[in-house]
């Protein structure tokens, strides 16, 4: 039978090892010295990463299906829970493991007086992400989603001494929990009619069903929790508050992989359960509208920020919008582009957050305005920051550039002409914001900006997360360099994009998923796509967005010398921007109101055209 075999126990062993080591550290943490705690946690994560690599190689021969508790299906039905690792799921689990490893190594020197609790929470966070990505049961995904959430609230508010940390954490907790309850309601509605919780069982039960109101509403409600976690507009308000205050290595995990898991959740549930039932164009339109909206709001807010970590948080929201737009095409090229873009973005954004961490630890602030020219003595960091900014804008041959190129190609091929325009504009805006901040801090370019508007959240009162470090330590520089090189490798090595395209096509094959998980049918992975490579138009559009980013950054740096005529042009836009900024008020009541309105709007967006 295809379910036995050693490969099928890799997924539960990975989760089990993480939990066991977390318990060990929690029990013995006080007795062990700090270096021993770090060593144990890092060895455990290295072991899990190795397990993920082996699992990824095992998925090359088709999905690895594990029925937990030996409840393998008989006559096509089972009461147990399946963990189904296809290449995309195993790849995301590996990405999560690598980023957690980078965060742990960075934290060796970054935190001084942290007890064993920090490492235990990081291990539980990885267990939650691994379980969420590999699970083949929608309630099980909800449980690991809650595990990721609870640990993330604690990690966000970890530095309780910092004033804003705890409030950002509580906003994050309340909105994420409420979103999760709507997901549970959707699961309940689906369970009421079909009496199944597993993705394969639901996929088989729903095949051939007419798309009535219950199915549309169940799909939309189940997606709410994932869309909140992915920080899609209008559920995104918690992200900037949480990431502005969370410790830097934790932000690396939030922006690098946790938000991408939200988009993965929506896609996984759609392709395995609702793929045959809900018409593609209704769902495609909804995801593209949400994606475009998120990308634009994220990019605009990103360009307006002066607090480095909020700037990067809004850039993450902008890129999640791009992932959702690309994956929203619901076809091979689009999903490939989104997956490559997620991998590239994880490396670049992770490196940028760690660089922001070094800025905070060396200069005691993350406020771009007050740090003007403070970083002139740095030698290596300025160039890493500039390269990362250009890569964020889509500089070839970085993975972000390749992901952007493939996604643009996919969107224009499926008839959405505005796709490439959106991608170029958004990546240029976010790249420009990072370049502006880097040049201002490290090279002191442009005039010293005077502190004009005070109401805006400047990064000045951000407490130092560690005692002042004379120079950046190797264990902090190493992860930054490794993440940048990783992002470069994803774009430069053609085998990566080809492998991801084959994984994306396997991911979209809902029928194959059901047949293999439930009936043990052999499934050989599909051939890679030819589009999954650099193209002339792709490179041209990438270079265009990089130049646009550089231009916008220069414009922002020297905006004081702009002739007055140009500034009057931006007068009407200014009031709209002020309204947008006020909407991000930090008030949990507003966020709940937007959450409810967002749920109603998303359901109408998907359902109304189908009536």
């Amino acid at each position: 039978m295809p379910w036995e075999g050693t490969a099928s126990s890799f997924a539960p062993v990975a989760i089990g090892v993480l939990l066991l080591v977390a318990c060990l550290l929690a029990a013995l943490g006080k007795l062990l010295p700090r270096w021993a705690v770090d060593a144990v946690a890092t060895v455990a994560v290295v072991g899990v990463v190795a397990l993920d690599v082996v699992l990824l190689r095992a998925t090359r021969a088709g999905r690895v299906v594990t029925w937990v508790g030996a409840w393998t299906p008989s006559r096509g039905s089972s009461v147990g829970i399946s963990l189904v690792a296809d290449r995309l799921g195993a790849g995301l689990a590996l990405l999560a493991g690598v980023l957690v490893l980078a965060a742990l190594v960075y934290s060796w020197r970054y935190f001084e007086d942290v007890g064993a609790h920090y490492q235990v929470l990081i291990l539980l966070f990885l267990a939650g992400m691994t379980g969420f990505v590999l699970s083949g049961d929608v309630f099980d995904m909800f449980v690991f989603f809650e595990l990721m959430g609870a640990v993330a609230y604690a990690l966000t508010g970890f530095l309780v001494e910092d004033d804003t940390a705890v409030q950002g954490a509580l906003n994050f907790a309340i909105i994420n929990s409420l979103g999760a309850y709507f997901t549970l309601t959707g699961i309940g509605i689906l369970y009421a009619r079909y009496g199944a919780l597993g993705l394969p069982q639901l996929g088989e039960a729903l095949a051939g069903q007419p798309p009535d109101a219950l199915l549309v509403i169940a799909f939309c409600l189940v997606c709410v929790g994932f869309l909140v976690k992915a920080a899609v507009v209008p559920f995104h308000f918690w992200t900037a508050d949480a990431e502005a205050v969370a410790p830097t290595p934790v932000c690396l995990l939030f922006s690098g992989v946790m938000v991408a898991l939200g988009v993965y959740g929506v896609d996984r549930v759609y392709s395995t359960v609702f793929g045959e039932v809900l018409p593609h164009d209704a769902v495609r339109r909804a995801l593209l509208v949400l994606g475009a909206l998120t990308a634009l709001v994220g990019a605009l807010m990103c360009f307006l920020q002066r607090h480095l970590k909020r700037l990067l948080a809004y850039s993450t929201i902008a890129h999640v919008g791009l992932f959702l737009a690309a994956a929203g095409t619901l076809d091979g090229p689009g999903t490939t582009g989104a997956a490559v873009y997620v991998l590239g973005h994880a490396g670049i954004k992770g490196a940028l957050f760690l660089i922001a961490g070094t800025v905070l630890s060396r200069y005691g602030s993350v406020d771009e305005v007050s740090l003007h020219g403070r970083g002139r003595d740095a030698r290596v960091m300025p160039w890493l920051a500039v390269v990362a900014g250009l890569a964020l804008a889509g500089l070839p041959p970085f993975g972000t550039g390749l992901g952007k190129a493939i996604s643009e190609e996919a969107l224009s091929a499926s008839g959405f002409r505005w796709g490439p325009v959106l991608f170029v504009l958004v990546s240029a805006l976010t790249g420009a914001a990072v370049l502006r901040a880097a040049c201002r801090i490290y090279f002191g370019l442009g005039p010293k900006p005077q502190d004009d508007d005070q109401d805006e959240a400047s990064g000045d009162e951000q407490d130092r997360e560690t005692p002042a470090l004379p120079r950046v330590r190797a264990t902090m520089l190493l992860p930054i360099a490794a993440l940048l090189i990783g992002a470069l490798a994803i774009g430069a090595v053609p085998a990566v994009a080809r492998g991801v395209s084959s994984a994306a096509r396997e991911f979209l094959d809902g029928q194959g998923y059901v047949q293999q998980a439930l009936h043990g049918a052999a499934a050989e992975p599909p051939a890679p796509l030819t589009e999954a490579a650099w193209t002339a138009t792709g490179v041209a559009l990438d270079v265009l967005s990089v130049l646009l980013a550089a231009g916008l950054a220069a414009l922002a740096l020297w905006k004081a010398q702009l002739p007055d005529r140009l500034r009057t042009v931006t007068r009407p836009m200014r009031s709209a921007v002020a309204a947008l900024r006020r909407a991000h008020s930090g008030h949990v009541g507003d966020y709940v109101a937007w959450l409810l309105l967002g749920i109603a709007a998303f359901t109408a967006l998907v359902g109304v055209p189908m009536i």
Binding site: S9, P12, V13, I15, G16, L19, L20, A22, C23, L24, A26, A27, L28, T66, V68, G69, A70, W71, S77, V79, I81, L83, H117, V120, L121, G128, G131, F139, D140, V143, E146, L147, A150, V151, A154, F158, V160, V166, I189, R193, G195, A196, L197, A213, L214, I217, L221, S585, H587, D590, A593, W594, L596, L597, G598, I599, A600, A601, T603, A604
Partner: protein, 248 residues
């Protein structure tokens, strides 16, 4: 945004979501219907594994990894409370003495009920696979039962009875035991969290294979976690009284 705008957005959102939910509810099987496909498969599976309490079988045997995830959430949350409420340097927890002594009747009932509720808690944990109950409910019951010592006596005697590090590691031990039983499943039958022990006689205490062991592991974890949780909140309250010097 201003309160007025928030009201409008909230009103629209609530109306919209209300309509969405109502539309779905109208198309769901009516309340009390007999259409439960998952139950039709779960009950025979539980009986096959000798578990009289089918809910216990679904929780610990059929959907074991769900419960492992819930255990991890419980463990993470208690740890988070420990992290978030850790006393800063200028606050060290010393409970105030000389507060109101409990009434004689409270002392009597407290000390009478203490052993009774502890035994009930243990019974609910141990019989989780036969009668309603289990590790989760029994664990919380044990945690709250221990606090009868404070209700009937003084907080200091409660503190002596529950050294905090013991219960912190007790919780970690419970979760570790649950995961270890999962790995034992792989060692014996090659599948994680498999029910590899003999199923015993249906309806008796020695039945349902690993379900009672998992129940006990969860009872230990949830019991010690509950004590740690309540301990943190009590310590915080006494901190406030010490700073203000007011009676507790």
């Amino acid at each position: 945004m201003s309160r007025a705008v928030r009201w409008w957005v909230l009103g629209a959102g609530t109306a919209g979501v209300g309509l969405v939910l109502l539309l779905a509810f109208l198309q769901m099987p009516s309340f009390g219907s007999s259409h439960h496909p998952y139950r039709d498969a779960a009950v025979p599976a539980a009986v096959a594994h000798g578990t009289a309490n089918v809910v216990g079988s679904v929780t610990f045997d059929q959907r074991g990894i769900d419960t492992l995830g819930e255990e991890a959430i419980f463990f993470g949350s208690v740890l988070a409370v420990l992290v978030l409420l850790r006393p800063e340097d200028e606050e060290e927890p010393r409970p105030e003495e000389g507060s109101l002594a409990p009434l004689q009747s409270t002392r009597l009932f407290g000390y009478l009920l203490l052993p009774l509720s502890l035994i009930t808690g243990l019974d609910i944990v141990a019989h989780g696979h036969v009668t309603p109950g289990g590790g989760f409910q029994g664990g919380i019951m044990l945690a709250t039962a221990l606090h009868l010592v404070y209700v009937a006596g003084r907080y200091r005697s409660l503190e002596q009875l529950r050294p905090m590090p013991l219960f912190e590691s007790g919780e970690a031990a419970g979760v570790a035991a649950f995961t270890a039983l999962g790995f034992a499943g792989i060692a014996v039958t090659g599948s994680f969290l498999a029910n590899f022990l003999p199923y015993g006689t249906f309806g008796q205490i020695l039945s349902a294979g690993t379900v009672p062991l998992l129940n006990i592991a969860v009872g230990v974890a949830v019991g010690s976690g509950g004590i740690v949780l309540l301990g943190q909140f009590f310590t915080q309250v006494f901190l406030a009284d010490r700073e203000k010097g007011s009676g507790s």
